[in-house]
């Protein structure tokens, strides 16, 4: 048997095995039960329009709040970590390592219950707590991404700006940071997608019916209708947000690549 024949045989065996596995799975699974439990169209129909006008909307709002806070605070942290002042560097490093190392759920519980405990009597708005909790998680990750972006801006850019008479701060704001963001757009989109899913943790802060986000909406409906269908519907709604973001990310990545290669 020639090498090519052998390769073809192996490939044939692999395809064959795949087909066998699929056939066995198809026959072994109880499709009737899966269909009634996961794809109950009557239940799915009852979820509309609230799954869109309440749950999807809130997921987007919570994510946007967390992302905005995360990006602003992420820049601050990145600058602190690049700072020449020791304490700033130490604080930023400590913060990043701490919150990047903790499960987001623990951060949520700490913020959601810690802040009201620490400032008793003050009624801090729920949105502020959500923004802080999601933002703290996001900023720890984003700070590192942003720092990498700032460092990736060619040194010549800074030197050119400084020789034009720009102050260090101005150089940073008008020259370095805009270029840094262009470099890190793809990884930032990644953070955004992660954050969409982390927004499900808002459940632990508690919400009224019109404050529910997708995961909580699905959970509550799951128990309500005794069907797994709400999870499927909620899952599809997450994909409505995340897949366009992924496509956007791929586009940006391609664009960044061509720019890096000299715009051609």
């Amino acid at each position: 048997m020639s090498r090519r024949q052998r390769a073809r045989l192996f490939r044939g065996i692999q395809y064959g095995a795949l087909v066998v596995i699929l056939v066995v799975l198809a026959f072994a699974a109880d499709w009737g039960k899966i269909a009634t439990s996961f794809l109950d169209l009557d239940v799915a129909a009852e979820l509309f329009p609230n799954v869109i006008v309440i749950a999807l909307k809130n997921t987007i709002i919570y994510t946007a709040l967390g992302f905005s806070f995360g990006i602003v605070f992420g820049v601050v942290l990145a600058l602190m970590r690049l700072s020449s002042v020791g304490p700033y560097r130490w604080i930023a490093t400590l913060y990043i390592e701490f919150f990047r190392g903790l499960p987001a759920l623990l951060v949520f519980l700490a913020v959601g219950f810690g802040i009201p405990t620490a400032f008793p009597g003050t009624l801090i708005d729920r949105m502020v707590i959500i923004t802080l909790a999601l933002g703290i998680v996001a900023s720890a990750y984003m700070a590192e991404t942003i720092r990498a972006g700032i460092k990736a801006v060619p040194k010549g850019q800074v030197e050119a700006a400084r020789s034009l008479g720009m102050s260090p701060a101005r150089t940073m704001i008008t020259v370095v940071i805009p270029q840094a963001f262009r470099i890190i757009l793809p990884p930032l989109t990644n953070e955004l997608i992660m954050l969409v899913k982390d927004s499900s943790l808002v459940f632990f802060i508690g919400s009224t019916l019109d404050q529910q986000e997708l995961a909580q909406f699905g959970r509550q409906a799951l128990s309500q209708y005794r069907s797994m269908t709400p999870f499927v519907v909620a899952g599809l709604c997450y994909l409505i947000i995340t897949i366009p973001l992924s496509i956007l990310q791929q586009r940006l990545e391609r664009k960044a690549n061509t720019t890096a290669k000299g715009g051609k």
Partner: protein, 268 residues
């Protein structure tokens, strides 16, 4: 080193941001009063619960309804405010966290009065008598805890059913903990656990709507449900107890009971 020093001015930026963040946290409102009773937010009594716990609280259309909801509505009516229901995990309700951070004024979640929970917050006088029971698949042959040896028993996190199961079964009964009641009941249905332990009225309600499962043993744990109120908010506690007593004496309680449980109340 030279490059670093250029960022020195910028270093002031994070400091300013930190200061701003710190000062922003200090703000916020306080508590308000309605008829001499302290409430977390003006014009409403906020109720913490974990949805759904049918027939005590569950979603119907766009509203949350149920026995507990109706009872707290009586309190709200008496205070001249509206009830707002906040849904969250049961563990932070039962541990008293939700009440202590002013997330809610009361906790009404089909919650049994226990000594442990009493240390964390105050309970109203009992308003419902329940007991632990087992839900199994029809014809499974599981009738009591002994027949569960070597099998899996589903429990709900932080519930008295879980505590009862842990106390009264050995290691030979595998306990599987679920966060939601729905997931617990679903697991009995799809056979991933052999039985589930929870409060009898909830299981009865479920078995009524799902013919492939049945409630078998009730354990006569005789648990009293109470409404949780933050320690120190005695005016509200007094008000809740007044409203409950009045409802029991004027027949409102019995009417609501029959409405949600399709039977006459076991107690006063």
């Amino acid at each position: 080193m030279a490059r670093r020093s250029r960022h020195q001015v910028l270093a002031l930026l994070p400091a300013a941001a930190l200061l701003l963040a710190a000062s922003a946290c200090g703000g916020g409102g306080g508590t308000t009063t309605a008829n001499g009773v302290q409430l977390a937010e003006a014009g409403k009594i906020k109720t913490c619960t974990h949805l759904p716990y049918e027939p005590f609280q569950f979603k119907e259309g766009n509203n949350i309804v149920g026995f507990d909801v109706d009872l707290v509505d009586l309190v709200a009516k008496d205070l001249g405010v509206k009830q707002e229901i906040v849904d969250g995990p049961f563990d932070t309700i039962a541990s008293g966290q939700d009440l202590n951070i002013n997330k809610c004024d009361v906790a009404a979640a089909g919650m049994t009065i226990t000594d442990t929970r009493k240390q964390n917050f105050d309970f109203s006088s009992p308003y419902f008598l329940a007991t632990q029971a087992l839900l199994v698949k029809k014809g499974s042959g599981v009738t009591n805890l002994d027949s569960l040896k070597g099998k899996k028993l589903g429990v709900q996190a932080d519930t008295t059913g879980k505590v009862y199961a842990e106390k009264n079964t050995g290691d030979d009964v595998k306990k599987v903990t679920f966060e939601d009641l729905g997931l617990l009941l679903e697991s009995v249905k799809n056979g991933s656990v052999d039985a589930a332990i929870n409060d009898d009225f909830v299981l009865k309600d479920y078995a009524r709507k799902n013919t492939d499962v049945e409630m078998t043993t009730a354990f006569n744990t005789n648990e009293n449900y109470g409404i949780g109120v933050r320690k120190g908010n005695d005016a509200l506690l007094k008000k809740v107890n007044e409203v409950l007593a009045k409802a029991k004496s004027d027949g409102t309680y019995a009417t609501l009971y029959e409405k949600w449980f399709k039977e006459k109340p076991k107690q006063g």
